[in-house]
Amino acid sequence: MDALLLLVEDDLSVREVTQLGLQRAGFQVITARDGREGLALFRSRRPDAVVLDIMLPGLDGLEVCKAIRAESAVPVVMLTALSGTVDVVVGLEAGADDYVTKPFKMPELVARVRAALRRATQMTPSEVVNLGPLQIDLQAHAVAGPGGEIALTPTEFRLLVELARRPGQVFTREMLLERVWGYGYLGDSRLVDVAVQRLRAKAEPDPANPTLIRTVRGVGYRAGAG
């Protein structure tokens, strides 16, 4: 079955051509013109992924993203006109998995959406990986901690699995970008930093003093105590 995408974009031309492009790439696409309509459609249709413009009239993209995150781990790809500055980080911190800067080329957007969906739907062997107090069930995409189930987005889950499978090994930001997001060397390493922050906030006993996902200064991150 083709994946169902929700596209929230206020500009008619951009919305129409993006819808066309995504449909040609094999997705089913439903569209919304603003944040409120987008959120309503999201709740009624439960799409497999959301492509969300940040600058929307009324309820803006960041708020929509936060509202979606509050109830779902669905992959969210932001469309942003604001690259290079803190705005991208703000969007990522709101819970987006990835972003594409306007103006974007259609294949680029399609690639980002496919990568995000792959993280969410990838079939994995039945396996449970342990990291400290966490039990990571690869097939069920579920993480159990001391306080019960921890809800992670597919991106955060993939990141955790990537690190937890090789505890102690140091991963550079570039390695994680490539393995989790599917970027080459020139990707935006802020994706990794913000995702690690969000993951720590959810999974670490004390996010201010991380013990499960540790920073290796000047290199990257690694999993494991000690």
């Binding site: 500009d11 031309s13 951009v14 129409e16 051509v17 993006t18 066309l20 492009g21 040609r24 469309l79 006109a81 290079g84 500055t85 306007k102 103006p103 974007f104 080329k105 259609m106 294949p107 957007l109 140091v170 930001r173 080459g184 060397y185 020139l186 390493s189 802020r190 930093d193 690690v196 922050q197 720590r200 996010p207 201010a208 003093n209 991380p210 540790r214 920073t215 290796v216 200064r217 000047g218 290199v219």
Partner: protein, 475 residues
């Protein structure tokens, strides 16, 4: 400023001390002279009374000797009237009368002229020391006949008073000098404070704080001067603000326009990328037009991207984001992405702490420029460390530009060859230089001796932590 203040204070103190010295010395001299002359007058009058009125003919006959004098009781009478010591010379080899042991010896120091005055029958006087105490010796005899009287009037009290006077004057002078120094310090500070304030305000303005003003506290020359100074500063501030505002408005306009262009451009770019898939199916001319449309859309996209980037750099909102990475690996990735034919020369891995994106933009734009304008020649990128700098050199063997035009390469929208319209935005080198400078470095162009152009970017970088030292930090 400080030296001037000290000189001014020293002058004031010097004047005050000199005045006090003159006044003190003058008053001391005056007082001591009048006290002494009063003392002498009193002593003379007393001696005259003692000789003429006390030692009368009937109490002391002219031929009296020591025994007769002692019997007369005159010694006691004279001594009660202020002449504490007494020496009487009866002449004719008779033993003299002496009231004290020391008295006789002092007479050897009597001035011969005193004896002449005495012989002439008049009263004479002389200052002498008696047992360390200053004394006035008054000598005289009765006009008719009789012994020579030497009456000693002690002046110890008077000289002690004079000593106390000059001591007081000295102490007073010292206190006055101290007060003068204090007052001079305060006064000069008061006088020079406006000057010091003006100096501070002027350096504040020179340092870029155009809002610096002087307090106008008085209606004197300083007040008028402060007002003029403030008027000058105000007009400077308003004209600079006007210029700045115009510049800001212009930059905001460019940023706004670029931003507004984005949305339609996003649609255009997406449409062009979809259209490309249909190009093959289009009949001849339409296909070619579609190709051109796609290419032009791409050019427009690059131009708007560059405009937005340079507006961000102009606005100074492009804050660096330092990270630690291998510059050699980054350069290899940028070359693969932007100019796959270029050669990379690196000494090995180049771990640095710097802003990754800045370096990527600088190197990428230099490579774009070399591949567009290098006439298809071999492009070489080399990276090395030079002290605290990372040096990036991108060279081509193309036609180059005349030496006089090298600096103009960094002008916005500059085209070295007016006839050949470039495919770039005309902003790439300006952006690269802005990035280099925003990162604390610089970017320069020069002609290669054997033909072609060479760009050298220098970026200060930090030393990454040595391998193996895995410090644990949060984020």
């Amino acid at each position: 400023m400080h030296g001037f203040r000290a000189r001014l204070a020293a002058t004031v103190v010097g004047l005050v001390v000199l005045t006090a010295l003159l006044l003190g010395a003058g008053s001391y001299l005056f007082v001591s002279r009048s006290l002494r002359s009063q003392f002498v007058d009193d002593a003379l009058a007393q001696a005259e009374f003692d000789i003429a009125e006390l030692a009368t003919e009937d109490r002391l006959p002219a031929d009296a000797d020591l025994a007769a004098f002692e019997a007369s009781g005159l010694a006691g009478a004279i001594q009660r009237r202020g002449g504490t010591q007494l020496f009487v010379d009866f002449g004719d080899g008779e033993a003299p009368y002496s009231s004290g042991f020391a008295v006789a010896s002092t007479l050897t120091r009597v001035d011969p002229r005193l004896r002449e005055i005495l012989a002439a029958g008049r009263l004479g006087w002389q200052w002498l020391d008696l047992d360390g105490e200053p004394c006035l010796v008054v000598a005289g005899r009765r006009p008719a006949a009789g012994p020579d009287f030497y009456i000693y009037f002690p002046a110890g009290d008077m000289t002690a008073a004079l000593t106390r006077l000059w001591q007081s004057l000295l102490i007073g002078g010292g206190v006055l000098a101290l007060l003068a120094a204090l007052a001079a310090g305060l006064i000069t500070r008061g006088v020079l404070r406006p000057v010091a304030a003006a100096g501070r305000a002027a350096s504040a303005i020179a340092g870029g704080d155009l809002s610096a003003r002087l307090p106008v506290e008085s209606a004197d020359e300083f007040g008028a001067w402060a007002e003029s100074f403030n008027r000058m500063a105000a007009s400077l501030e308003s004209s600079i603000a006007g210029l700045q505002e115009g510049r800001d408005r212009e930059r905001r306009f460019v940023a706004d326009v670029s931003h507004e262009l984005r949305t339609p451009l996003t649609a255009l770019v997406a449409e062009a990328s979809l259209l490309k898939e249909h190009l093959a199916a289009m009949p001849g001319e339409a296909g070619r037009l579609g190709e051109l449309l796609a290419a032009d859309t791409e050019r427009l996209r690059a131009l708007v991207e560059d405009l937005l980037e340079i507006s961000r750099l102009d606005a100074g909102s492009d804050a660096g984001r330092p990270a630690e990475f291998d510059a050699a690996a980054l350069a290899a990735a940028v070359i693969a992405d932007r100019c796959p034919g270029a050669a990379l020369v690196v000494p090995g891995p180049l771990p640095v702490g710097s802003d990754r994106r800045r370096l990527e933009r600088i190197l990428g734009n230099l490579l774009d420029n070399a591949s567009r304008h290098g006439g298809g020649s071999q492009v070489t990128a080399s990276l090395r460390r030079d002290g605290a700098d990372l040096v990036v050199v991108v060279a081509d063997r193309g036609p180059g530009v005349p030496a006089g035009d090298l600096e103009r390469l960094f002008d916005r929208f500059y085209k070295a060859d007016a006839a050949r319209s470039g495919t770039g935005s005309g902003l790439g080198l300006a952006i690269a230089r802005s990035h280099a400078r925003a990162g604390g470095g610089d970017l320069v162009a020069r002609s290669r001796p054997d033909g072609g152009l060479e760009f050298e970017a220098r970026l200060p970088v930090t030393e990454p932590l040595p391998d193996g030292e895995a410090l644990e930090t949060d984020g």
